[in-house]
């Protein structure tokens, strides 16, 4: 509230520069992606993990329900079930990429924490490498799942 009052008095006062002011760079993108992917993992990722575990614990019937909505409803699936399958496949793709992205940028953070990798070029290179590594790891998992379970 206080900030808003000050803003109202003098709307032209200088503001600290924020995201839209800067030119995007890998170092900047990876920091934002680390947060965003962490949020996705902590919400969608962990709830799905718990659903999966409890479906296993609940026995064959509850696991069949999980499979029908999340994995594949098969040929006899209703329109809603098939839509649900594709929705969860998209989520699975997002969670898989988030996992590898958060892992790669997390390892980068651990390296930075010991005081290494702050030189401009090195920092930029490893930020890019983390993105590329996450992309290829995700691609590997997608191809693996597609060839093994979806028969593509």
């Amino acid at each position: 509230m206080k900030d808003a009052e000050i803003m109202a008095k003098n709307p032209n006062r200088p503001l600290s520069p924020h995201l839209q002011v800067y030119r995007w760079s890998p170092q900047m993108a990876i920091s934002i992606f680390h947060r965003a992917t962490g949020f996705i993992l902590a919400t969608v990722g962990m709830i799905t993990l718990l659903w999966w575990l409890s479906a296993i614990g609940g026995g064959p019937e509850s696991y069949a329900t999980f499979e029908k909505y999340v994995v594949s409803a098969g040929e006899s699936g209703t329109g809603f079930e098939t839509a649900s399958n594709w929705f969860f496949r998209l989520l699975a793709l997002a969670v898989t990429f988030s996992f590898f992205q958060h892992l790669a940028s997390g390892v980068r953070h651990l390296v930075l924490d010991i005081g290494a990798g702050y030189e401009l070029k090195v920092n930029r290179t490893w930020a890019s490498v983390a993105f590329i590594a996450a992309f290829f790891a995700t691609a590997f998992v997608v191809l693996f799942v597609a060839s093994r379970f979806l028969g593509v």
């Binding site: 947060r35 962490g38 993992l41 575990l53 409890s54 696991y63 651990l110």
Partner: protein
């Protein structure tokens, strides 16, 4: 007029000496997560099939149930620390911040206990649940 002594005025105003704790816990759970989630992902990739019976038998083994429970505790601790920072950075209203922080704690504790219970039940009562 404040009639306290100089030392009395400043006591309790300094650092709580817990400044490094959050930071360090975030890193330690991160290292734990690297180990545990790598185990989890490799286990999934090597799974012969994804029938309920196969998965239940797999989960019920002590060598799987223990790391799975550790992974649940570790990822939820790490997520709590991380989401706490998000709330501190983006929720500015004090009341709302208190509320979201309380919800976050409910969410992670309830979820972790639920997950541990599911795995423990399978491990203790057998896979024929």
């Amino acid at each position: 007029m404040d009639s306290r002594t100089y030392i009395g005025r400043v006591r309790g105003l300094g650092s709580a000496k817990h400044g490094g704790e959050h930071w360090l816990k975030q890193r330690l759970t991160a290292i734990g997560n690297i180990l545990l989630t790598t185990w989890f992902v490799i286990s999934l990739l090597l799974m012969p099939n994804f029938d309920q019976a196969t998965l239940a038998q797999w989960l019920a083994q002590p060598t799987v149930a223990v790391p799975m429970i550790l992974m649940i505790v570790n990822i939820f601790s790490h997520a709590r620390l991380g989401l706490q920072v998000l709330i501190e950075d983006y929720v500015h209203d004090e009341g709302l911040k208190f509320g979201t922080m309380a919800l976050l704690n409910f969410y992670v504790v309830a979820s972790a206990v639920f997950g541990i219970f599911v795995v423990a039940k399978l491990a203790f009562t057998g896979a024929s649940a």
